[in-house]
Symmetry: C2
Subunit: 433 residues, 2 copies
């Protein structure tokens, strides 16, 4: 057992890159104790060196030319923390072709172009790891692909986006409207200036694509996912959910079915006695159900400089084992096969229970018309609430919970109900857990 | 990247061994897809081949002579699922000396003699893995030592014994006394015929010893832990805890302090809004706090044939990477150093909040005497309940919650209070979270 040196280069010294640099600079002894390897932060590529970063970078090569680092034969592992599609994709591909191992936190890139990148990694006998791309500091990818390697994965479901969970938590706790909670999240740094990707479900869907690909040992097409965000949820819906004993969460769900994966991201009514209902603020949590292990859950901070960097460095240490392998061997990449596509079951074929909320004119016979359309589509109602007050502009809210019904039937029913002139356009359908 | 064959041998075909055999026999394709390795169940050593096991063992060498398997050069990895100290220790040591990698679920052995075994593994250039020894199917050891490798571990705390958690859950939900809940747990197979190790806290302490050793990158002495079981908790205490907004759980706790680790296993009042209060029945959950990641939590089934086997097979797959290493290299063992002892802070130096329950005669002046002794020892009371009824044999319960105080001061106070003749002997002290 020899002592090895591992030279690391970082692309992009923003939030996450700074965290990685901080760990490599301050935890070197700890890492050496735990791995018998010495990790050196060799080079950082960053365009803007004027920002204040509270890091002592003496001894580190600080440059702006990515190509120089990507071609440096002294560097073993490249960390990509620029984000976005380009130049991140080209930089990662170049690094892999130069036979450097790569670590990235870039969920958007892995979810949409991961397949190409893993193909390049495979061809060049190097590895590409991405623990930080899902669940920030939670070692969920490692748990899923190594810890539960012996299991057929039946289900993966959970809260994968901290921003939208923070917003929903504040809506629940402080009775805020979506817009107010979003503004608060932005003020506190839990939401970006442009929060679209977070609140629309897109970010959670990127992460679900990655988890599902690992679970199914292949690649899922991001475009095949059904995605709905939290933008249309109102204070009123939160209160109705509460009165039924539920908490509204943005859930990402994977279920293994006979003809493929059921893959969805949407707001969901979670029963209050489920652990996910108690996962609050910016925290993330993922349940994984395997055929041998049963239900497991992983919980923790889904973002932030320090947690995300914790995951990246865990990948760096893992990759360093590749340096101890016999010539021609690879370990990590064995577990992802770029040749294997995974079919997704169209959402219309899925069955769910639903929460429906309409604003209707306060006139007789309306409820029977709505329930008539539902009945025609084979959908039966399990509870109903019609409030006398609470209305705006003469409209009153009606809320229904249904028994299980197909998404297809629900879509048809809503199309028909939406055409009634006594119904406002802004009706809402939320799935039940 | 070549295709490799890995031959596995199992020692002891009991509950867990049967699960391991089942996975190796039924999930071979899945494991090959995910690891590019072919795992073969080569040999099983078991004394009693008459038991009905619902396994098709054709093609597997089924023998009673352990020595024969331990010396067979064809076998790469040995799984020890006999349990207990001997012959398990000798078998594992022999396997390691014969340069076979070993996987075990034997927490009692790893906690008390792990240091010797890791020394032998190191000397012989092989690895010893033990994921299943803590948290059954939960990949907590992997999460802690690989996933959080970049963190100084500040705290580890959680529910590590399924049997006692099941008993406490039933006491909470059904208002049972300890004895009734234990009998039910035994009837349902959640408790052994001899439940001592589980309800006394010993099993949780074995597991905490293992987690703390990993967290501190050295070896903790099992004898140094402070351990208290759940045997003295009554229905009355559960109800008092409830009335204060707490749930009683058997917690295992590690805290990093300046002069060593604070390591304890004891019943604890957990606030109802903490996630651990919602971990019920036989389930386990562990929080890990690292200096970079913050708080993470791992949750799942802490025992059982299938979850435990899931963890063992994950270790088998991990060990197989050692077969791809260059001559003289080792990976897993790098992370545990048998030469490094870890000091434990004596419990007397720890500060806690306490729940105290006494049965006293119903006479005037008693409360002032008790609170007087507490005050003399610098312990101040935060709440107090004295019930008029509820007494047996003329004794009435008095319950106090204290502010933080040293364990030393509390011990002195209880010694003095215990000598009052108006106090029954069976008083109880429980720590607050
Ligand atoms: N933030 C989190 O909590 C978190 C959590 C999980 C995953 N992630 C992922 O981590 C990645 C990075 O996120 P972040 O929050 O750290 O972003 P960030 O703060 O915007 O950092 C990106 C950094 O890259 C620099 N950069 C841009 N183009 C570059 C180029 N061509 N060459 C070198 N440097 C360049 C930027 O410099 P300028 O200042 O000049 O633009 C900036 O410093 C993203 O993929 C994100 O999805 C983030
Ligand atoms: N059960 C769980 O859920 C669980 C969870 C985590 C960890 N563990 C750990 O896993 C280990 C095994 O537990 P278990 O529940 O599977 O125990 P078990 O059901 O009692 O199985 C032990 C098996 O080993 C056999 N055996 C005893 N001595 C032997 C010898 N000299 N050579 C070969 N076979 C021998 C026994 O055979 P006989 O029938 O002849 O006695 C029995 O079949 C223990 O260390 C335990 O702490 C168990």
């Amino acid at each position: 057992m020899q002592d090895h040196h591992v030279n690391v280069g970082i692309l992009g010294l923003g939030t996450v890159g700074t965290g990685v640099a901080r760990i490599l600079l301050t935890q070197q002894d700890l890492l050496r104790t735990r791995s018998a390897l010495t990790f050196t932060l060799h080079t950082i590529v960053e365009l803007n060196w004027d920002k204040e970063r509270d890091l002592d970078l003496s001894g580190v090569e600080c440059i702006t030319d990515a190509q120089k680092m990507l071609e440096n034969p002294e560097i073993d592992i490249i960390v990509e923390t620029i984000g976005g599609y380009e130049p991140a994709f080209t930089f990662i591909a170049t690094a892999l072709r130069n036979r450097k191992h790569v670590v990235t936190a870039n969920k958007a890139l892995i979810a949409t172009r991961g397949r190409e990148l893993f193909q390049i990694a495979k061809e060049n006998g190097v590895d590409l790891l991405f623990e930080a791309s899902v669940g920030g500091g939670i070692p969920i990818i490692k748990g899923l692909r190594e810890g539960l390697v012996a299991n057929q994965i039946e289900r993966v479901y959970g809260i994968l986006n901290g921003t939208s969970n923070y917003i929903l938590t504040r809506m629940h706790q402080e009775e805020l409207e979506f817009g107010q909670a979003l503004a608060e999240a932005q003020a506190k740094g839990f939401a970006e200036a442009d929060p679209t990707l977070d609140v629309s479900g897109g970010d959670a869907a990127h992460k679900l694509t990655i988890l599902a690909s690992i679970a199914a040992s292949g690649f899922v097409n991001y475009q095949d996912l059904y995605i709905e965000g939290i933008q249309n949820i109102t204070k009123l819906d939160i209160n109705f959910a509460k009165s039924f004993g539920y908490t509204i969460k943005l859930l990402a769900v994977m279920r293994r079915m006979e003809n493929g994966l059921d893959l969805r991201v949407h707001p969901t009514l979670v029963p209050n006695n489920h652990l996910l209902a108690a996962v609050n603020n910016e925290l993330n949590a993922v349940f994984v159900k395997g055929d041998f292990v049963g239900n497991t859950m992983f919980y923790g901070p889904g973002a932030g400089e320090r947690p995300t960097a914790s995951s990246i460095v865990s990948d760096i240490v893992d990759l360093s084992r590749d340096l101890l392998l016999k010539e021609g061997e690879q370990f990590s990449c064995r577990t992802l096969n770029p040749e294997q596509g995974i079919p997704v079951v169209p959402v219309e074929q899925i069955r769910n229970r639903f929460y429906l909320r309409f604003f209707t004119l306060d006139a007789p016979g309306i409820l029977s018309k709505i329930s008539g359309v539902l009945a025609q589509n084979g959908i039966s109602i399990s509870s109903m609430v019609q409030l006398e007050t609470h209305g705006k502009d003469n409209y009153v809210p009606i809320v229904l919970l249904t028994h299980e019904a197909s998404e297809q039937a629900m879509k048809q029913a809503l199309d028909a109900i939406g055409k009634f002139d006594f119904i406002q356009e802004n009706y809402l359908r939320i799935r039940l857990f």
